[in-house]
């Protein structure tokens, strides 16, 4: 199973990459995706999206999904 993983903002800088392709049969959830790209536990403050919709750590993923990890959002101004 192949997953396209994306990182944004400070997490992109920490990971040293904006994208990663992972391929493994043991990946069932967002947490499993994180475990395949990092040795650290999933940080509490991080948000996740599966196919551009907000997700939970236990959200299921499937072959071909895009899974994104990013810090809290801070748009707008003021």
């Amino acid at each position: 199973m192949a997953i396209h993983v994306r990182f944004f903002a400070s997490l992109r800088e920490q990971m040293g990459a904006s994208d990663k392709e992972i391929s493994s049969d043991g990946i069932l959830t967002v947490t499993d995706v994180w475990a395949s790209v990092s040795d650290r536990p999933l940080p509490d403050s991080i948000l996740y999206a599966v196919n551009m919709d907000y997700a939970e750590s236990m959200t299921a993923v499937k072959d071909g999904d895009e899974v994104a990890f990013f810090p809290p959002v801070t748009g707008g101004g003021v």
Binding site: F8, A9, S10, A49, V73, T74, G75, G76
Partner: protein
């Protein structure tokens, strides 16, 4: 509804005037236009901010802005909504965002405008990186409304 992510300089007042002219089907129907403009400050958390870069998640950001506007349209009797948000490099005094809502009466326009802005800040995937004199830092928290 019009939602735009803009790489170049934003003129919020021109955006409002131009969009209002374009929504001819609503001319004569709206009695209220509420607008909000967010502008870049030259200070944050006690530090001078030299410039700032706004990162977004192409595709997800647009989709979530649309969802926020659709949600406002379900909650209030509003006629039209404009959201233009900057991305890329900004300097102090540059407008960051404009939200404008047209409705028959002022209550819905005011309430929906505030709702769209607050939802945008907490849900739309944008991230700010500030350049300070002592280096760069990512903005971690939204300011209180």
């Amino acid at each position: 509804m019009k939602i735009v992510l803009l790489k170049s300089k934003l003129d919020p007042w021109k955006e409002i005037v131009d969009y209002q002219r374009s929504i001819e089907a609503h001319h004569g129907k709206f009695g209220a236009t509420a607008s909000f403009v967010g502008t870049m400050r030259d200070f944050n958390e006690g530090d001078c901010v030299v410039d700032m870069t706004l990162e977004h998640y192409p595709g997800m950001t647009e989709r979530h802005l649309q969802k926020i506007v659709e949600s406002a349209e379900q909650k209030w009797q509003i006629l039209d909504v404009l959201v233009v948000h900057r991305i890329g490099a900004l300097r102090p005094n540059d407008p960051i965002v404009v939200v404008a809502v047209w409705s028959s009466h002022r209550g819905a326009a005011f309430d929906a405008c505030r709702f769209v802005m607050e939802q945008l800040k907490s849900k739309a995937p944008f991230w700010k990186k500030e350049s300070l004199q002592q280096g760069g830092r990512w903005v971690e928290n939204n300011t209180a409304g």
